[in-house]
Symmetry: C3
């Protein structure tokens, strides 16, 4: 399937705002507020629900399910599996954020277990997290990518093939791949790396795009263009990470189809 990048992201944003899909998050406690607010700002409706007693019912109402292992616990993993199986049964797309994979065995193994027991549409992480899922040597210091050996484009392509999902590696240049395609997104700003949870927020945005996009690679590109463009818009108004975080949400809310189409710096290999 040939795709011309110029027509990709914008119409999906309009679709999100028209349909207001519910994005069910089972996610980490550190950036739960930011991920809820950015989901609202892009035009979707967030719900954070993790109780084993309700996740299957809640996900049934959702347009996409976001699983983020940033502050995982065994009962949360159980909730993720239950919600994920129900999502798979109902054809609701899942996005996984393997926060901190490579830093501890629990995180790497949990991410791999979710990938093995569930059908995951998109996995988004930094280079060392994604590398850890396919056995590429690297260093994840806590939740931060310090280094990874090898070429990022090879890693993202290999990960997509091995994991059987669309894989997105975010960094200065974002890379998105499935088994056959590769996209690069050059939107963004260095201030995005100065706040906690910008990766998690990108994951939530992709979740919103997944709820309206038939093609998960296109959804990932859409979410990453939105995040990067908002960073570009917010940076000049900001005096540092604290004010940037506020302006970032303003910029997401101010994005529209025309701004997405004009500002996107996505290209396909």
């Amino acid at each position: 399937m040939e795709q011309t990048p110029t027509n990709i992201p914008g119409h999906l944003l309009t679709a999100i705002r028209e349909r207001k899909p519910l994005i069910h998050h089972i996610t980490n406690m550190v950036v739960m507020n930011d991920t809820a607010n950015i989901t609202l700002a892009i035009g979707a409706l967030p719900v954070m629900a993790h109780a084993i007693e309700e996740v299957e019912e809640m996900v049934g109402l959702a347009g996409a399910l976001v699983l983020n292992i940033g502050t995982l616990s065994p009962s949360q993993v159980e909730a993720m599996l239950r919600a994920g199986k129900q999502a798979n049964a109902k054809g609701i797309p899942i996005i996984l954020d393997p926060v901190g994979a490579g830093a501890t065995r629990l995180r790497t193994e949990t991410a791999l277990r979710l990938l093995s027991e569930l059908q995951i549409a998109v996995v988004r992480g930094n280079a060392s997290e994604i590398g850890a899922l396919i056995g590429v040597a690297g260093e994840t210091r806590g939740v931060e990518a310090i280094s990874v050996s090898g070429d990022p484009e090879s890693i993202v392509r290999n990960a997509a093939r091995e994991l059987g999902s669309v894989v997105a590696i975010t960094g200065v240049r974002d890379l998105v791949a499935d088994a056959t395609r590769l996209a690069r997104v050059d939107n963004g700003h260095p201030l995005l790396a100065t706040i906690t949870g910008s990766g998690c927020m990108a994951t939530s945005l992709i979740g919103a795009f997944l709820a309206v996009a038939p093609d998960p690679l296109e959804a990932a590109v859409g979410g990453l263009v939105a995040m990067g463009l908002a960073g570009e818009m917010a940076a000049p108004r900001s005096g540092g990470p604290g004010t940037f975080r506020s302006h970032l949400l303003d910029a997401i809310a101010a994005l529209d189809e025309a701004a997405m189409n004009q500002g996107q710096k996505a290209n396909f290999a």
Copy 2:
């Protein structure tokens, strides 16, 4: 009891700032930071404590207890019941925020169980959450009211009678009722609906007013006037939801008795 709206909200704000009551929250993780900060900004002292081992002791120090089921779990419900029974025994008022009632059975049943086992002074929710508690058909998409059948003024009056509490339904127009009275609050701004947790923050404000107001209906009106007025003050300084959230806290802190009395748009049916 006749009440002239012009003398209601302002003096309560002054009382909160003089007495600095402790507001014990057992609440959701998504907006815990915002609800703590808004409680401080209105002049009260927040504490978030949910461990079963300490909630009875903590609530004994409090002027009001806020129960919010936004990210509930079975152990949290147990903590709510223990704290609530102790609050009832000591005459400490309770406010319940039934976040997401109607979206899942767990949420609807938990809210009803708390209402049945505890004496609740005020229940605050959106129209579909309150409707779900008295069997009115509606749609709660996650934690968002999508639709509710019937007239909101009838729903709030019926809910107040059936639940035996003051009930507040917030929306473009806020409605507050007890068994015999109805108040309408027209303060507010559309930006309040663009951030997550504005309802939860309103609940925390009502909690602060409850700690100093003998009449829970008056407390609910006071909290909703404060929230709406702060939204009106914050909106012109804001460029979107991110900056609005910061200016909203500034505006709550800047409110005083005179601003409350002059700006309030409350009237009683």
Copy 3:
């Protein structure tokens, strides 16, 4: 050991930015986002990880361990003990924030248990929290110091001797003591007391300084000077607690060695 205050804080900030130490937090849910963001802003890398299954592995990667009992639960205490013992075995410094000690028995006893079973480099709290750990009468209303009997300089010196740690009491004037030394830090601004978690954020900053400073008293002074100076820089740009919180993070990120050395108001008794 004689120390001239003018050469204390600045070079440590430079060391943090060069080494980017991982600061492992087992901390409260209310201000987890703020403590992660302020750790990033000072130049270190935060990770929030509390699962019993991973805390020993995670702390092994860390330059310091922050334990904060603000929203404690029994399983969290177990995770703190496991991570703390591993940190002690590896020589990784620990800072304890006994949030709410004195308000409930659970909090006081948990803080004392951590102090008894672990070797803690620094304890930071407000006057009534620290007083509660050594049996000085006072009132902690929730997590706020209302009153404490006795002279703060005596309390901080006695606490340092009794607890066998560096102790920092923060307030209008911050006091830091070990068994023989006493430092006073007069940086700060009243707006710091209007936001939730400014104490917890100061604790995280001290954690970052601990990861690079051989002397825990010097680390505590460094963290408190950074926090106080950032408050002084942020206040004139702020219209209240909401905007202050954003500008505070900007100011921490903008601090450098020269600004620390010029602006510090630390002196040693």
